[in-house]
Amino acid sequence: MSYEIIGITVLWLFLYGYVIVASIDFGAGFFAYYAKVTKRDHIINQIISRYLSPVWEVTNVFLVFFFVGIVGFFPSTAYYYGSALLVPASFAIVLIAIRGSFYAFENYGSKQSNVYMFLYGATGLLIPASLSVAMTISEGGFITEENGVVSLKYWELFTSPLAWSIVALAIAAILFISASFLTYYASRANDEAALNLVRKWALFWATPTIIMALTTMIALSQRNQRHFDNMLELWWMFGLSMGFFLIAMGLLYIGRNYGMAFIAIMLQFFFAFFGYGMAQYPYLLDPYIHIETGVTNESMAIALIVAFIGGLLLLVPSLILLMKLFLFNADYAKGKK
């Protein structure tokens, strides 16, 4: 395999990791606020904060990891995406900053505050919206380059059905992933009341997720024929994705094996996410950044891959330890430890 393929594959894996952990986190923030408004916070907030407290920081790193990695492997992404995304990405930074620090302020500092809760919930839905702009513009036609100045066509972006489909898909998927994870976590904690509530949410959000996925496909076919055709060729990946979705729905519906259900959902998104990414090949930004010409020099690519491997050897055991202590430790989830 060539460097650029290894590079983009690992980066895509990390982005996928971010999508999963961030979805859980973002969705949990929204549900926590929603439960508070509907006066059901006593049922689920305990579960949510026990899960989130030790891991919220890790979530953030996944994003930085992807970001630094892609700029390292493909420096021209810094030029094009960096120039074009100044505004949406800056918004995302501000939202992430509000979210992260307010979480700490609320949980470790002051008493429960409605304002913090609201901001925590709201930013969780706005961050994916602002980050998904990057997804949209990668399809091409949203940026111009004149006299060495790269700029984003805002009007084009705001009137694009594809952009809105992606935003809606991101939000629906977040709520779906998060609710099904919380279902699993509540079942680990043997918390019947919380389980019933979040299971209902998971079942509810499944429908908009699938609808938005289809809408996005249609919008994509109008925007970027090449990408769409490539996706059709990878039909089996999306088929697998659909299959896992049905398995997950079945398990959630009959109400058992929530762990398996969540794994099925992870696989559902894994195949959809990788199918989407593979179909975009060979462009990182249609048509400005071609994966082969955009890649960094050979010695840096090798160094980065070595760093990847070394880093993963360090990270994977640590992550497993973290999960063992907090995620798969029934006593912790129940609140006994």
Binding site: N60, V61, A78, Y81, Y108, A303, G311
Partner: protein, 450 residues
Amino acid sequence: MEFDTVTVSRLITAMTLTFHIIFATLGVGVPLFISLAEFIGIKKKDKHYELLAKRWARGFIITVAIGVVTGTAIALQLSLVWPNFMQLAGNVIALPLFMEVFAFFFEAIFLGIYLYTWDRFKGKYTHWLISLPVVIGAAMSAVFITTVNSFMNSPAGFTMENGKFAAVNPIEAMLNPSAPTRIAHVLGGSYLTVAAILAAIAAIALLRKKGAEDYHKKALKLTVASMLIFSVLTAVAGDFSAKYLAKHQTEKLAAAEWLFETEENADLLLFGWLNEENEVVGAIRIPGALSFLAHGDFMSEVTGLEATPEDERPPLWIHYMFDLMVTIGMFLIGISFLYAILSRFKRWNAHSKFMLWMLALSGPLAMLAVEFGWIFAELGRQPWILRGYMTVDEAATSSPYIIHMFFMFLALYLVLGTLFVITLRKLFKDNPVELELEKHYLELNKGDEK
């Protein structure tokens, strides 16, 4: 309104960094002291130290939160505000940036574990062991990110062919000539600053006489002893940095010391200011000291600013930054040394009002020195973003929206800064040491009263 995107780009980065380094410095240093306190607590079976570790850790979470989010901001802003720079330099300097994220990741994982497992392990040392990856991760991220910054000051590990980098050697770029001394100075300075800040907290608590004296005195002993060690180490590393500058980055040292003409036996200037004709007024001159500082020899030749073309010279006001940083450093050495001597002899009082006041001052002063030092280091390489290769004008974004982003971030940092202070105050005011000692460490409190 017309405005200059380059200036705004510089301002936005300066603002983010000025804000971030407060929390970054704390982030590097505090874990070391939490770990030290916990270790001493276990070793001496002294619950006071255990409580110190716990209380420091509690305040640390709030600090980390802001450190993480502003660090994320910097990571993204590098590409958003300086896209041309990242496109060029990314080819050479991606490795340490990347490794920094790994170190950060590592730290984040173990910090989460550390904070939530105080009473979960049987062996007392198990929990303490978890603090080590946090300390190491924090230090390593400082090391890696400093190599990136050093690269911008002393680019190495590539050759230039037709405006493009060729023959890239990532390791050589990372271990560029200025990296070792700067890493030592940054790490030492961070530990020093945090020691000073924690000492200041204890000193203020003692000044306010609200009780728990033993607890605060132990905190003071630990932190001021560290202050002494790290202030000396930082000064030594600083001296090496100056020698490096004298050799390889002459314009920075010359601007810092207002040395316009190349001279043998050059004087060191303390304070003073420049008049209209760019002549130095009111400075204290130490004959030959600059030569000694630069090359370890009073008679050696120090290169002046004249050797640098006029449009490649850094601003002259960095002299003030340099002076302030060094003066504060000397003050910190002096005050911690004095405390060490006073506390050695029983009949002297190391906790007199004067000493406590000086120690209370040293915390904020140390943090100011960090800021001054960074301003000196960063402005000292103007107009370059990549010394000798790319100026900041060529590197900045051309987006007209940068000015809006500036105000957006300004508002963000104002809000975060304010809430940080409010939250920390509340956290410690609602749960003072005296109360916590009474609640959870009853046996200790009785000991205090005896």
